[in-house]
């Protein structure tokens, strides 16, 4: 078993419980909404068509997009609620459609018989239509169950807690054991819940109430297990939330912040792998207390500045903007930069740009890209960012091919010569591992990306909170470029757990501090 896996087993009760609570509560609410809706529209073909059409449209929205969209729609709420609402929406279509089909499938002669014997509409529904449609309706619930349990693995980016934290965390830190572990557990949970729901189907078929009770008991047990975590937390002090974005460095730094706060006596909860946009909304809304972002990121994404600026000016402007516009406090710089940079293998650079290192610039690449066929790969967001547009226009870059890929795959592609240039992150451990060279941004188009420690106004007001984190940002920052790169390498290349690397990193900071003091 990998060290990372053993490490992550400690989170199992939390993640599994969160997953069960989320999927079950969404299913229950979905059921309570869809069956009456299905009953109401089943007698009106046009309405039924409309309702099913709307549900089908919701279903076609990619689940990740629906989840992330729920955050602004719910006024910036993150965590359980956006995930809950999105999953309810997902559960509606199968249950609604099957309710309509099930009710319509009841033999009209039986409805006439019921009516002819003197049943009112309600009695007819309760005694004839629903019991006869039950197997089909429960079939819909089973479909919804598998769908919801599966989709619940995607709630990580909105700050939800589920087995998806294993999957996302594993993908982001190249820990495939954790990813497979999360997938297998989610699949097992889906099968267990599906079989429990199936007991109701059997109960209806065999007219055996004991089976239904067994199913209900099983589901209640899962719900209870899911509720255990949140309920037990009610009786412990309100935790502080530290959040991390979905990549290695953030996973490490989240652990670093958590450790600092914990040793200062705070109870800390992590929201790992939150999408950056979501993270910022959560910080603004005081739903998370602190996170780490990058000056250049805020500069281009939030401030929408086209022109870069000198590093210290940019820092000051970002600080000011965050405080004035969002009420978010920048506690200081961590001491390293994680910038975008164009990276190549030296052999390829020599062949394409020339043997002189001084020739390895973006200008030279642009020149060559207009003559030769050059390909580039970037992560899933870079080519939509302002930085890319600026880079392309200012240098007149002409790439033959532009690939978008997950960072892990992107580094692999340049290593294996499948692509000439990649958009790398300067603090990434894989630059060193693959011996990549960074091309000089000779026109200074890209801004600087100093890592900064951000906290919500509410968090800063808590006594001792800022003090606990101050060692990280004192004197221009405690984590140098080299230290961060090494820490990232430890996780991405050596396969150590982010937590262990974080503890080592903190230790080295403490040691250095002591030697300085001496």
């Amino acid at each position: 078993m990998s060290e990372q896996l053993i490490e992550s087993l400690r989170d199992l009760p939390d993640y599994l419980g969160g997953h069960m609570l989320l999927s079950l509560s969404a299913l229950v609410v979905g059921l309570v909404l869809s069956v009456p809706l299905g009953i109401a529209v089943s007698r009106r073909p046009k309405l039924a068509e409309l309702a099913q059409g709307i549900a089908a449209v919701i279903q076609t929205v990619p689940s990740l997009a629906l989840l992330v969209l729920m955050v602004p729609l719910l006024g910036g709420r993150t965590g359980f609620w956006p995930a809950f609402v999105a999953l309810i929406l997902y559960s509606i279509l199968p249950i609604l459609a099957n309710t309509v089909v099930g009710l319509r499938g009841v033999d009209p002669i039986l409805i006439e018989a019921g009516r002819g014997l003197g049943m009112s509409d309600r009695e007819l529904l309760r005694k004839v239509q629903l019991p006869l449609a039950a197997p089909v309706i429960i079939g819909g619930v089973r479909t919804a169950t598998v769908l919801v349990v599966g989709t619940a693995t995607l709630v990580t980016p909105v700050g939800g807690t589920s087995l998806g934290n294993y999957i996302f965390g594993g993908l982001e830190t190249s820990d495939y054991v954790a990813t497979v572990f999360g997938c297998v557990l989610a699949a097992v949970l889906a099968i267990v819940m599906d079989q429990l729901v199936r007991l109701f189907e059997l109960a209806a078929q065999r007219r055996d109430q004991r089976l239904a009770w067994l199913g209900a008991l099983g589901l209640l047990f899962l719900l209870g297990a899911g509720l255990w975590g949140p309920v037990s937390k009610l009786f412990s002090p309100t935790p502080e939330y530290v959040a991390g974005a979905p990549f290695t460095e953030q996973h490490i730094l989240t652990e670093v912040m958590k450790e600092q706060l914990r040793s200062a006596g705070f109870t800390v909860n992590q929201r790992k792998g939150m999408a950056e946009g979501v993270q910022f909304l959560a910080l603004r809304g005081n739903q998370i207390d602190c996170c780490i972002n990058y000056t250049g990121n805020i500069w281009t994404v939030l401030m929408k500045e086209k022109e870069s600026a000198e590093r210290s000016i940019l820092r000051a402007k970002v600080r000011h903007f965050l405080r004035e516009r969002y009420g978010v406090i920048c506690l200081g710089e961590l001491g390293f930069e994680n910038a975008y940079a164009l990276a190549m293998k030296p052999q390829r650079a020599e062949a394409l740009l020339g043997t002189e290192r001084s020739q390895w610039t973006v200008s030279r690449l642009a020149e060559q890209s207009r003559r030769l066929s050059v390909s580039v790969a970037g992560d899933l967001q870079f080519f939509r960012r302002l930085e890319w547009r600026q880079l392309r226009e200012r240098y007149q870059l002409r790439f033959r091919e532009k690939k978008e890929a997950d960072p892990t795959l992107m580094y692999g592609a340049v290593r294996d010569d499948q692509v000439d240039v990649i958009v790398a992150y300067t603090s990434d451990g894989r630059i060193e591992k693959y011996g990549l060279v960074l091309l000089q941004d000779d026109l200074h188009v890209l801004p600087s990306y100093d890592a900064i420690l951000l906290a919500s106004a509410e968090a800063v007001a808590k006594p001792g909170f800022a003090e606990a984190l101050m060692p990280l940002v004192r004197d221009g920052g405690a984590i140098s470029d080299a230290v961060m790169q090494e820490a990232n390498r430890q996780v991405d290349v050596e396969g150590n757990s982010p937590r262990r690397v974080a503890l080592q990193l903190l230790e080295s900071i403490a040691v250095r501090k002591k030697s300085v003091e001496r």
Partner: protein, 260 residues
């Protein structure tokens, strides 16, 4: 007693299903509505228990205007038997029979007693049949349960929509004669729909012949056979006789057997 006075049914589409039908079924008698498919006989039947609402006219059951009664209450007091029994497949025989008594909130002991009583009445031993599911019964047994269900709350009036239609000929004859006996024994007023002329002639006290939504002739089987009001009724009524003659000649080795 059932009385229909100038009853018509016109659907929203403009289709006239029943036009100006008046008839009377004296208490304890059985009327058969006879005609081909689409003649309006089933619509006429369903207007009596308001499964279909008449467009105009007046319908009385035992002196009460059916339109003045809550349809749900009205139907609980009228037995209703459908073609192919239409038993609820998710309910046992006992549960099917007790549908109306349960709707009427009878006490459990009374319901249980009544189930056994009815099963015996339709010649199904209770201990054997009570807990069976409809799919475990033959067609004839299903329709016996259908009768028991219709009789459960002791109605004075029965409506039957082709009750023997889905049965094989032998079972049909057997069940029909049992039903006729039962009906007389219980003194039920009944209206039955059929397109089977022989069945109508053998079952009815009164026959109402319908065509294209109109009542062509109302009378006893004898009256209809002896004095058909027009050619249509005449040829209809004589068809069993014609068939019987053909059968007879077959037995005698008649026309089909050759001229020797």
């Amino acid at each position: 007693m059932i009385v229909l006075k100038q009853v018509s049914k016109t659907y929203d589409t403009g289709h006239v299903a029943v036009c100006n039908v008046s008839l009377e079924v004296p208490a304890g008698k059985m009327l058969v509505l006879l005609g081909g498919s689409g003649c309006g006989k089933t619509t006429t039947l369903k207007m009596i228990n308001r499964l279909v609402e008449p467009t105009s006219g007046r319908i009385e059951v035992d002196g009460r205007d059916v339109l003045s009664v809550d349809p749900v209450q009205l139907r609980r007091g009228i037995g209703y038997v459908l073609q192919g029994s239409a038993l609820f497949p998710h309910m046992s025989v006992a549960e099917n029979i007790s549908v109306v008594p349960r709707l009427l909130d009878w006490p459990v002991e009374r319901i249980e007693k009544r189930i056994d009583e009815l099963l015996r009445l339709v010649h199904l031993p209770p201990e054997e049949f009570r807990s069976r599911m409809p799919r475990q019964l033959s067609g004839g047994q299903q329709q016996r349960v259908g009768f028991a269900r219709a009789l459960a709350a002791g109605p004075r009036v029965m409506l039957l929509d082709e009750p023997f239609g889905a049965l094989d000929p032998v079972t049909r004859d057997e069940l029909r004669s049992e039903f006729l006996q039962l009906r007389r024994q219980l003194g039920l007023t009944a209206v039955m729909v059929t397109h089977d002329i022989t069945e109508a002639l053998l079952s009815a006290d009164l026959i109402a012949v319908m065509n294209a939504g109109r009542l062509l002739q109302l009378g006893t089987p004898h009256e209809l056979l002896a004095n058909p009001s027009d050619d249509f009724v005449g040829s209809l009524m004589s068809s069993p006789k014609r068939q019987a003659d053909q059968l007879e000649s077959l037995v005698a080795g008649g026309p089909k057997g050759g001229s020797s």
